[in-house]
């Protein structure tokens, strides 16, 4: 029972990190970013290069990996997505082609075999008789911290207020003197950075390989649809729901059935309440 509670929390935290970034860039810039999974994979590979190949210490490697991917995201938004923003389809196509290009690039550089990233925290920690890898616990704590910081940033800072304003009405925000395009860049950096952080954190205990981004991205879609496109609390709530129901299904039936959970969740949501648990009206 406690096992389900802890493991469910870990996967929920990782899903939440992925989904929040995905929903943020959609809510603010109306960019449906199909390259989100590629950011996650790039983060994991950056962690592999910095710690596994170059043997840098964790406190340098992890922030560098996140910064690198955030920069990649900003450049992608500036040079590839922004000129095509007149058409939603063109944005979908360009982000999808970026994600394919990244996947192929990783495949060509690193090959298709699984890569191992050394654990950041080697010890096992025992909570109420349940042994849990320190790495998973680190992922949980970091995930909760990042989401908390993001919440404070959006609610309490001037830049956060500007982001909120743009998400509500980009044109009116621009009339008020908010540099909309710069806000898009900031949001893209946050979105790519959180996805990369999720990738960095899971890299020691999940397999690192070129196609690793696709399935988490599909999960992020599912969470965002269940939670309501563009709603951050909604996606956190949905991440908890999906993380726990997958863990419960894995314990009660078999881990192969977990993939079905997100599909069923998406179909039921779209049938019963298409706007999601906390629809777009309550944007943040």
């Amino acid at each position: 029972m406690l096992e389900i509670l802890i493991y469910g929390a870990v996967s929920s935290a990782i899903y939440a990190m992925l989904a929040v970034g995905f929903t943020l860039i959609f809510g603010v810039a109306r960019i449906l970013n199909l390259a989100h999974g590629a950011f996650y994979a790039l983060g994991a590979y950056a962690a592999y290069v910095f710690t596994g190949l170059l043997h840098w210490p964790l406190f340098i490697a992890a922030p560098l990996a996140v910064l690198f991917v955030a920069l990649f995201g900003v450049l992608m938004e500036r040079f590839l997505v922004r000129p095509l923003r007149y058409s939603q389809l063109a944005v979908l196509m360009i982000t999808l082609s970026v994600s394919l290009a990244v996947e192929q690039g990783l495949f060509i550089t690193f090959g298709s075999e699984y890569r191992n990233v050394p654990s950041f925290v080697a010890e096992k920690i025992s909570i109420g008789g349940v042994d849990i890898g320190g790495q998973r616990l680190l992922a949980l704590i970091a995930g909760v911290l990042v989401l908390l910081l993001l919440w404070l940033f959006i609610q309490r800072t001037r830049l956060g207020a500007a982001i909120l304003a743009v998400s509500q009405d980009p044109e009116a925000a621009q009339y008020m003197g908010i540099p909309t395009n710069r806000i898009f860049s900031v949001v893209m950096a946050i979105s790519a950075g959180t996805a990369a952080l999720a990738g960095v954190l899971v890299s020691p205990f999940l397999t690192v390989q070129p196609t690793m981004g696709l399935l988490p991205m599909v999960k992020a879609f599912a969470i965002v649809i269940v939670g309501g496109l563009g709603s951050i609390p909604g996606s956190i709530l949905a991440a908890l729901l999906l993380g726990y129901s997958e863990t419960i299904v894995a314990y009660l039936i078999s881990s192969s059935w977990t993939e079905l959970v997100s599909l069923v969740a998406v179909v039921t949501t779209l049938m019963i309440k298409p706007s999601g648990l906390l629809g777009r009206r309550a944007a943040f």
């Binding site: 196509m93 082609s97 394919l100 192929q104 399935l215 879609f221 599909l263 779209l270 049938m271």
Partner: protein, 309 residues
């Protein structure tokens, strides 16, 4: 409504004649095989274009229908040892069933739900094929299908005939009142709804037609390769089809079909590039998105034939 002009028809006759004669002139089994794949991709691209090109609801998981059709053919052949000819109609039925399952919850809605749901559905189907490997053959898939027609050349002609029929049917539908409604939905869905058009019905119906041809193409592909495997469901297949449509000119149906043939031939030329091939594809797509947003083939054909109309 624009009627088919003489010049369009004669252009079509010349292209089909060239395609039909090419393998006879070159007389190489390898080349016939390449052309068969070209023509099957053309069926997929034309079927994608009918739904997504006309209504503007971009389908990012066309491989769901392709894979469903192919696996239906595979199951019929390996589990029930059915006559291979049964697999074509059965594949159509199964693909249509899949389109209804995905279409009903998602196409009622506006916005990006349909694209996301299709992408997720095809990715999850690919995973399911690997997870339930006892039934689906896992990574290796199902093999040992019988060819529909023994002679590769005759099979090629059969597939080509289906392509011609598919393009003819889809073009006729697109030129009809029905196609006009679909294009109106692309233009302004809310206005169509206000005008009393059952928008959801038209979107779902066009998706089932699109899925039917995709499933048929999937079964034809399965009986050409004589095996099916999970990559048929992959996002790469969907995106390849979408790139072909883009190159051909979205919304014109004949353009995507020709785009598919052209790009598949190009892929054969690029075979020596091996794993860089997909990069070339991706790059082509980016260039087209930036410089030729209306595609290459259909606009070119319109420009060339302008003065004869």
């Amino acid at each position: 409504m624009k009627q088919l002009s003489i010049i369009d028809l004669s252009g079509a006759v010349v292209v089909v004649a060239l395609l039909a004669l090419a393998p006879v002139l070159l007389n190489s089994n390898y080349f016939t095989g390449v052309l068969t794949v070209c023509v099957i991709y053309a069926i997929w691209a034309a079927s994608w274009d009918f739904m997504s090109g006309l209504t503007g609801r971009e389908n990012f998981g066309h491989s769901l229908f392709i894979g469903a059709g192919a696996y239906t053919a595979g199951f019929l052949a390996t589990a029930w040892y059915a006559n291979p000819w049964y697999s074509l109609p059965t594949a159509v039925v199964v693909a249509v069933a899949f389109s209804l399952i995905v279409g009903f919850p998602t196409l009622r809605l506006r916005g990006p739900y349909f694209a996301l749901a299709m992408l997720s559905a095809s990715a999850i189907m690919q995973r399911l094929c690997l997870i339930f490997w006892e039934y689906s053959g896992g990574e290796e898939g199902l093999y040992g299908l019988d060819p529909l027609i023994q002679s590769p050349l005759h099979y090629y002609w059969f597939v080509l005939a289906i392509l011609v029929a598919a393009v003819a049917i889809l073009t006729a539908l697109a030129q009809s009142h029905w196609g006009l409604l679909l294009r109106a939905i692309r233009g302004d869905e809310a206005t169509c709804q206000a005008a009393g058009i059952n928008v959801t019905f038209y979107k779902i119906a066009s998706l089932t037609i699109s899925a039917a041809f995709a499933g048929l193409g999937g079964a034809l592909y399965a009986h050409y390769q004589l095996q099916v495997s999970p990559p048929l469901f992959s996002v790469v297949v969907s995106i390849t089809v979408i790139i072909m449509v883009y190159v051909g000119g979205i919304g014109s149906i004949y353009g995507p079909a020709l785009g598919a043939i052209m790009l598949t031939l190009l892929t054969e030329l690029l075979r020596s590039f091996g794993e860089y091939r997909l990069w070339v594809y991706t790059l082509t797509l980016m260039l087209i998105l930036f410089f030729l947003p209306n595609g290459l083939i259909a606009p070119l054909w319109r420009r060339l034939t302008e003065r004869f109309r």
